[in-house]
């Protein structure tokens, strides 16, 4: 009975997740009347707006990953090493982006950093890009922090730090040569999750009026039939590629934790 229930759950899950995907993919291939083709994909990929918005979002994702890693790795390291009592609070703060809607945050940004504010970031394209990247860093914080913190949990941070200090290393050397390489799997997992989030993000990019991939998908979806489905399949493939890369990185990590 239990086995039957388990299999039933698996089948239900597959149907729930797989059926819409199969339906969408099948629909994206039916642009040419009477036969399956990749016409919708060709149209999407040939669209200069696709290249432009996708390129923009990739750049934003890379910047977000870099800034996110620079913010999160030292913070998580310091909290584990010196402020263990503050960990629940830091975890709470990093979870806030999950409970505060992006639209609330972006309106807050616009109000705080508009052209008549003390820091008029929205007054220029570069400033708005920086603002959008900061928003993405915040959106990705729950995933990045957890991924890095899990990596830190797998090593003896305090003893490794002290060992490096006794060998003459300063904080930057410790972070760059000891801590970061040992939490690289966590950082990369966080990076791929961040990439997937940034590529598909709509609200912030649309409201800050930046040429990102998310708003492009929305515009295309409002005006075309087959292309949005093709675009959704592409976005889905990117996300799954990111997940696959996380798995690969985890599997092919050369070293492992010191064992007693």
């Amino acid at each position: 009975m239990t086995r039957l229930f388990a299999w039933g759950s698996v089948i239900l899950g597959c149907v729930f997740f797989a059926l819409p995907l199969i339906g969408m993919t099948e629909f994206s291939l039916r642009m040419r009347r009477g036969e399956y083709s990749f016409d919708a994909y060709a149209v999407v990929l040939a669209d200069p707006r696709f290249q432009q918005t996708f390129g923009y979002s990739v750049l934003m994702a890379l910047a977000t990953i870099l800034v996110g890693a620079l913010l999160v790795v030292p913070t998580a390291f310091w909290v584990r090493l010196k402020l263990p009592a503050a960990r629940p609070w830091v975890e709470f703060v990093t979870l806030l982006p999950l409970v505060i809607p992006a639209i609330v945050v972006v309106f807050g940004y616009i109000r705080l950093y508009n052209t008549s504010s003390f820091l008029p970031l929205t007054g220029s394209a570069t400033g708005t890009n920086i603002l959008l990247m900061c928003g993405y860093v915040m959106l990705a914080l729950p995933y990045m922090y957890r991924a890095v913190d899990t990596g830190l949990r797998s090593i003896d941070v305090a003893t490794l730090t002290e060992a490096a200090q006794s060998l003459g290393a300063g904080w930057i050397t410790i972070l760059a040569k000891v801590i970061l390489p040992n939490v690289l799997t966590g950082v990369l997992s966080g990076a791929f999750l961040t990439f997937a989030i940034v590529i598909g993000e709509f609200t912030m990019a649309a409201l800050l009026n930046r040429p990102a991939f998310g708003p492009f998908m929305q515009v295309l979806g409002a005006n075309r039939a087959y292309e949005p489905a093709a675009l959704a399949v592409i976005a889905f493939a990117i996300t799954w590629a990111c997940m696959g890369l996380i798995q690969l990185v985890t599997r092919f990590t050369k070293h492992t934790r010191a064992q007693g």
């Binding site: 090593i155 003896d156 003893t159 490794l160 002290e162 060992a163 490096a164 200090q165 006794s166 060998l167 003459g168 290393a169 300063g170 050397t173 040569k177 000891v178 390489p181 040992n182 690289l184 050369k254 070293h255 492992t256 934790r257 010191a258 064992q259 007693g260």
Partner: protein, 349 residues
């Protein structure tokens, strides 16, 4: 002149004083052990010398230079940890070279030093291995090589053998001592294992409640413990309650029987202590103390037989060598044990 000097060192965590007026002078090349039970403050002293904890008060001088204000990475101190603390992402050779690279030592010299260190610890072929590919004993040897590679002024060993199994522990402690002698490096070794401390050290500091109870050579610590704590903590001890009849001549009474020790004693009731190996089987008029009692336990340990004998309510342990021609006494039999007055320890403090 002392190479490492610790003066009036104190450390408090909140209201808890974990190290109290700790003083120690270590000569260059000396091997000192800090021995004591968990929570006695020995690791805190070591961490203050390393710079991982700041003293509440007191001074730490290395080669005449006060290092209290220096950060750990500025002290040129090598440290080996209980948990090995090898960097898992680096190979053995990279681990050993880590400190040299940080110090800006050139590649050729670095490589030569790594080879020298790996040879010193007996693992010349393990350079390309990762720490997880080594056994615990090998990892700890690499940790030692890594600490020594930077040629530190002082080597600190924080219970480096505790995580290893008994057999490797014994062989590695001999190796550590040999390497220390070979390099002539001033070393402080923290342990709660008295056998390790006694077998490896030039001098032992026995600590209790944040205080150094006795600082002396292992022979002195074992045979002439300065305090009741040291006597009880180091080695096994028989405690005999006695009443002093004549303090000047050393006449005492144990369970109604009088003994003449021939040495002066404090008056009143005293606690006398005797090591198990100071008790000999059989009466011996040449020895001042002859105690008769009933055998309550016989443990055959191979080369040694441990007897427990009840002497007027005092339960004494006696270690006697196994002799094939003299089988151990039977349980409940009556035996006489003898001991010299010079072997008696008078417990005062």
């Amino acid at each position: 002149m002392a190479f490492l000097e610790i003066e009036h060192l104190e450390k408090s965590f909140g209201t808890n004083r974990v190290v109290k007026d700790f003083n120690l002078s270590v000569a260059k090349g000396e091997f000192i052990s800090l021995l004591g039970p968990s929570g006695c403050g020995k690791t805190t002293v070591l961490r203050m010398v390393a710079g991982f904890e700041s003293p509440s008060t007191g001074a730490i001088r290395i080669d005449g230079k006060d290092v209290v204000k220096l950060r750990p990475n500025q002290r040129n101190i090598g440290m080996v940890f209980q948990a090995y603390a090898l960097f898992p992402n680096l190979t053995v050779a990279q681990n050993v070279a880590f400190g040299l690279k940080v110090a800006g030592v050139g590649r050729a010299e670095r490589e030569a030093r790594v080879v020298e260190m790996l040879r010193l610890i007996g693992l010349p072929d393990k350079g390309p291995s990762y720490p997880f590919q080594l056994s615990g004993g090998q990892q700890q040897r690499v940790a030692l090589a890594r600490a020594l590679a930077v040629r530190p002024q002082v080597l600190l060993l924080d219970e480096p053998l505790s995580a290893l199994d008994a057999k490797i522990r014994v062989s590695l402690r001999a190796e550590i001592r040999q390497i220390q002698r070979e390099l002539g490096i001033t070393t402080i070794f923290v342990t709660h294992d008295q056998e390790e401390a006694l077998s490896m050290s030039d001098r032992v500091v026995v600590m209790n409640g944040g205080v150094a109870e006795q600082v002396a050579e292992p022979f002195e610590i074992y045979n002439r413990p300065a305090t009741r704590f040291v006597a009880n903590f180091v080695g096994q001890l028989n405690r005999i309650e006695a009443r002093v009849i004549a303090p000047t001549t050393g006449e005492i009474e144990i369970g109604g029987t009088r003994h003449m020790l021939g040495r002066s004693l404090p008056s009143g009731d005293v606690a006398l202590a005797l090591r198990p190996e100071a008790l000999h089987m059989g009466a011996d008029p040449a020895r001042e103390l002859n105690l008769t009692g009933q055998v309550t336990e016989v443990d055959f340990l191979g080369s040694v037989i441990r007897l427990r004998v009840d002497v007027a309510g005092n339960r004494l342990s006696a270690d006697v060598f196994n002799r094939p021609d003299a089988p151990p006494p039977a349980l409940n039999s009556t035996v006489t044990l003898s001991a010299s007055a010079s072997d008696l320890i008078i417990l005062t403090a």
